[in-house]
Each structure stands twice: as C-alpha cells, then as structure tokens.
C-alpha cells in the first residue's frame, strides 16, 4: 500500500517490511532534495498533492509494477509539505527473487511516478523567491487534444 506523509519518511521500516524469505533482492530508491537546481541554491522544497487521486495512482503503479516485472512486492511513499535538503521526498522499495527485475521495476516506477501522479514541487531558493518546477503535463490536458 502506498502512503503520503507530512513528516519524514521511515525508510528503514519500509525496507524491513519487504525483506522476505523468498526474496534475494531488496532495492530501495530515495529521491532526496538537492541543494542546487539549474545553478541556483535551493533552501528547501515543498510538495503538494491531490491526495486521494495521488494515492490511487501510486497504488496503480505498485500493482502495474508487480504485473510487468518478476517482483514479489513494490511499495511507494511520498512526502508532502516542506522537505529540507538531503531528506527523502520519495521512497520506492522493490523486493524480488532475482535482482534484475528489482532494478527494472524500481526505475520504471520512478519514471511513471513523475509522469502520472498529481504531485507538485515548489523550489524555495536562497534569497527568498520560489518557483514551481516545470513539470510533465498529465495525459489528456483538455486544450491539448
């Protein structure tokens, strides 16, 4: 089950939950806040989501990953609100019997998450100004038909 949390993500608990005796590989991806973007110093990030839809999309991603790749389990968590530098904004954990599918699935989940899940990121720069990150249009923008 995916989760959206408004505080720090418990990466260790997520990884431990997927250590299963029938799996030989557990891959944990952390997306963390970078302190620079296009040459500017980032003081912090702030995330906002359309929460019920985002949760459903994340759950769909977990299920699709389990269907497309030879994995045993996939769990996604995304943090919302302010995230200071070096802290995780997103965690994807994949467990599988063999390591190849874990790498493929984890990478696919991150690519799709950035395309499909209604979450938005605002960069607050040192000095005080802030900008929404140029994102990816969701499929079917009405004017783009």
């Amino acid at each position: 089950m995916p989760s959206l949390t408004h505080g720090p993500l418990d990466v260790a608990a997520m990884t431990d939950a997927l250590r299963r005796e029938d799996c030989g590989a557990v891959l944990t991806f952390l997306g963390t806040t970078r302190d620079h973007h296009e040459g500017r110093r980032v003081a912090r990030l702030a995330y906002e989501a359309y929460e019920p839809m985002a949760l459903r999309e994340l759950q769909a991603l977990e299920r699709e990953a389990a269907g497309r790749f030879e994995i045993a389990a996939c769990v996604i968590a995304h943090r919302l609100g302010e995230v200071p530098p070096a802290e995780a904004s997103v965690v994807v954990v994949v467990a599988s019997a063999h390591r190849g599918p874990a790498f493929d699935a984890c990478r696919w989940v991150m690519d799709e998450l950035k395309r499909r899940v209604p979450i938005w990121k605002k960069e607050h720069f040192e000095g005080g100004d802030a900008e929404w990150v140029r994102g990816t249009p969701l499929p079917g923008a009405p004017e783009g038909e």
Binding site: Y50, A54, S89, V117, W132, A141, G144
Partner: protein, 81 residues
C-alpha cells in the same frame, strides 16, 4: 448544476483560492467549466493550455460531460519525486 472546483499548485496560487463552487447550466461539459473558471480567474489564462482536469479523481477531456455535484480538479503539469 453545481460543481466543487479544486485548484492545485500554480493554479491555486494564480486563482488565489484552493477551491470554489461553480454553477453551470445542465448538460455542461468540461470545456464549459474551464471557460467559466477562466472568466472568474483571468490570471489562469496563460496556464490553461497546460492544465489537465480530473472529475472525481479521473482524468477527463474537454468534451466530457460533467456530473452534478462532481469534484473538478485543475491539475498543472506534475513534478513529484
């Protein structure tokens, strides 16, 4: 018909509100809702071509019919992760 409109990210900031109630004639479609919202919030104009729209959490297209009482979400390009 009445709709509850949700604004996110840039759309929320430009509209100056996170949600609003919208009244439209029966039989209106998504494009009609966008037109009405644009009249109410001219600051959204430059964003409009980039917005996706979800009705009750499901992406819809301009010609799709609206449902009475639906939640209509304006979704700028996404940047999670």
């Amino acid at each position: 018909m009445q709709l509850n409109v949700l604004f996110f990210a840039q759309a929320r900031e430009r509209a100056g509100v996170a949600n609003a109630t919208l009244s439209l004639p029966e039989g209106s479609c998504v494009r009609d809702a966008l037109d009405a919202i644009a009249r109410e919030h001219p600051a959204l104009a430059s964003l409009r071509s980039h917005l996706a729209v979800a009705q009750d959490g499901v992406l819809v297209r301009a010609a799709d019919p609206l449902r009475e009482g639906a939640e209509l979400a304006l979704l700028p390009p996404v940047s999670g992760g």
